[in-house]
């Protein structure tokens, strides 16, 4: 292409641009850019085979090692063989500790993925990408919600894998229905929104990934242990039970056990879902409102 050709093409496009100016400043929808940003984060995950592999292998290892090593049922069957079945089902609400734990492992994997949603905003800040995004007219709330949604997407995919592996490794499927599985993932979805919002919100001002790691570790294990995910809360000391009862991880796990295993729940299903819905709405709103003030350079 000759230089003059290129010139004339450019002049042409310049004219087009000027005629476009009026349409370009039309207000785009308030959530424009939300999907683009979410997709950017998801793409980083699914186009990086190693990351994808690692995030899938981790729950499998946990489930396999943790679930099979801590076979509480075996304690009873070795000491009181004739009573063990009854004891196990009264303690865990299902036929084996493994099935009990599998439901808890679903929430566990979501908690772990949500934890890293904050980390990703810290990296974006450090690598300058966030600064670029902040100069565009994209809603600050969309920047936060994109992090939340990409984390939710990732964690739900991992939860699906965990459930499949759990079934393969011997989780009780006798009471599993399609509706129950769908309901379980609805509960997981709500918990993931709330938890991811929480971790993103804590990372809004941070440029320091070490601080972020410390915060993650500080919150992560208490959220896990002060819940019914690994052990039934009714055997915990009373003060701990109060914490369990305000911990969203407990309600997501409780809903999953009722829907997948038909266990008697800690609370009614409708209470579980109301709690999780409230948690998700409250924390995503706080996250959005905080982004207006704190998501600056």
């Amino acid at each position: 292409m000759s230089k003059t050709d290129r010139r004339s093409m450019e002049v042409q496009s310049q004219i087009e641009e000027h005629t476009n100016i009026s349409t370009q400043y039309l207000n785009p929808s308030p959530i424009h850019g939300l999907w683009a940003l979410t997709n950017r984060d998801l793409r980083k995950w699914y186009t990086n085979p190693f990351q994808l592999f690692m995030s899938l292998i981790q729950p499998i290892i946990w489930l396999g090692l943790f679930g099979k090593a801590l076979d509480f049922g075996a304690i009873f069957s070795s000491s009181a063989p004739q009573l063990s079945g009854a004891i196990v089902s009264s303690v865990f609400g299902t036929g084996s500790y493994f099935s009990f734990l599998a439901a808890g492992m679903l929430t566990f994997v979501i908690l772990f993925t949500a934890m890293f949603s904050g980390m990703s905003i810290v990296w974006d800040r450090r690598f300058g990408f966030l600064n670029k995004v902040l100069t565009t007219p994209v809603a600050r709330g969309s920047i936060v919600m994109a992090k939340v949604l990409s984390s939710v997407g990732r964690s739900l995919v991992q939860a699906v894998i965990v459930l499949m592996i759990a079934v393969l490794l011997g989780m009780d499927t006798s009471k599993m229905t399609l509706l129950g599985v769908a309901g379980t993932f609805a509960a997981m979805f709500l918990m993931a929104i709330g938890l991811s919002s929480l971790f993103v919100m804590l990372a809004l001002r941070s440029t320091d990934w070490q601080t972020q790691m410390a915060i993650m570790n500080l919150l992560n294990l208490p959220l896990l242990f002060a819940s019914n995910a690994l052990f039934p809360s009714k055997f915990m000391p009373e003060w701990l039970q109060y914490i369990v009862k305000v911990n969203p991880v407990s309600y997501a796990t409780d809903a999953a056990r009722q829907l997948l295993l038909g266990s008697a729940g800690m609370a009614s299903l409708s209470y579980d879902f109301s709690f999780l819905l409230g948690f998700a709405i409250l924390f995503s709103l706080i996250g959005i409102v905080m982004s207006w003030k704190y998501l600056t350079k």
Partner: protein, 342 residues
């Protein structure tokens, strides 16, 4: 005219940036301390100063990244605090650091930017190709950014800053850390882009020769305050003009006679050489030579020096431009800023 309609529509006449008493304090540190200036539509406005003078903080405020502590500013006719989103729609920003996502290709980066501006999907791809063509990255469009060289990344940043066809482009140290050849190339792109899109450019730099040759007007900022503002030639002539140095083959005193030439402002003699300050040195020099010949003497050597921005800078800040401040001081200041932000 489209541009007239545009200006009228958006409530500003010729000043695309209006800044009044703008300040930003980080704790006790006054990073920007009550600056006031205007930028006219269509000009290249240079913001010049040493590290830590407040250049980037000013850009961050004008591009709505940082809320000011006090004062006000209107960019493209909109208040940077109350109408931040309207400002964002109309400006392009090329920050100091690389901001592209390394895991994505050049093309994907530009497309993502386009989506963040809410440009229609059908439009974005055409526009991204066009921009990458413009900055000569068409061949590398589908490569991951992590494989780009420094110069390529700079050009990609430029393209990303142009996605929304801004009327005003902010460039923060666009050539920082680039070698001389790449710097020249980047400036060529910038100049070309400005002509192509008829944009206003707001550039910060600490390369004096760049500011001198490119900017229509320059503001010198130091310790958060604007110490001088004007066109490069205004700033330089403010120094008292050009310097002519002469050596004669005779030591008789001509000071008196030379000072009578109208362009000459100041004459200093030592032995048989003279140091003469004059306006329009290239016109004054022949007059001086003629005078000397008419007295039957001869000029052995002559040199004409035009003042550089280096000298302007020295004059107004009392520091040589190239002497970086004591590093420890700059460092302490940066740390204060970081702490105040956290």
């Amino acid at each position: 005219m489209i541009s007239d309609a545009y200006s009228a529509d958006h409530g500003y006449d010729s000043n695309i940036i209006e800044v009044k008493g703008l300040s930003k304090h980080f704790g006790k540190l006054k990073a920007v301390d009550g600056i006031t200036f205007q930028v006219k539509e269509g000009e290249i406005f240079g913001f010049l100063g040493p590290n830590g003078a407040g250049k980037t903080t000013t850009i961050n405020m004008l591009t709505t990244l940082l809320p000011p502590t006090s004062g006000e500013a209107r960019v493209c006719g909109f208040d940077i605090r109350k109408e931040a989103n309207e400002v964002r729609k109309r400006i392009g920003v090329v920050p100091q650091e690389y901001t592209a996502d390394e895991d994505l290709t050049g093309m994907q980066n530009i497309m993502l930017c386009g989506e963040l501006y809410g440009i229609k999907k059908s439009e974005i791809e055409r526009r991204a190709r066009e921009l990458l063509e413009l900055v000569d990255l068409a061949d590398a469009a589908d490569r991951k950014v992590s494989s780009y060289s420094g110069g390529m990344r700079r050009r990609l940043e430029l393209a990303a800053g142009l996605v929304n066809s801004p009327r005003l482009l902010f460039l923060d140290e666009p050539t920082l850390g680039l070698d001389v050849q790449t710097r020249t190339a980047v400036w060529e792109y910038i100049r070309e882009l400005k002509e192509e899109y008829n944009m206003t450019l707001f550039v910060t730099t600490h390369y004096l020769e760049e500011a001198d040759s490119l900017c229509d007007r320059i503001a010198i900022i130091d310790h958060g305050k604007i110490v001088k503002i004007g066109s490069p030639s205004e700033l330089k002539s403010g120094l008292g003009g050009d310097v002519i140095q002469l050596t004669l083959d005779d030591s008789s005193d001509l000071t008196e006679a030379i000072s009578r030439i109208s362009l000459v402002k100041e004459v200093k003699k030592s032995d048989s050489s003279y140091r003469i300050k004059a306006e329009r040195g290239e016109e004054a020099a022949p007059l001086i030579i003629e005078l000397i010949r008419s007295r039957g003497m001869h000029v052995k050597t002559i040199a004409l020096t035009k003042p550089t921005l280096d000298e302007v800078y020295l004059e107004y800040t009392g520091r040589a431009f190239r002497d970086d401040e004591e590093p420890s001081k700059v460092w302490a200041q940066r740390m204060t800023m970081r702490r105040a932000r956290a």
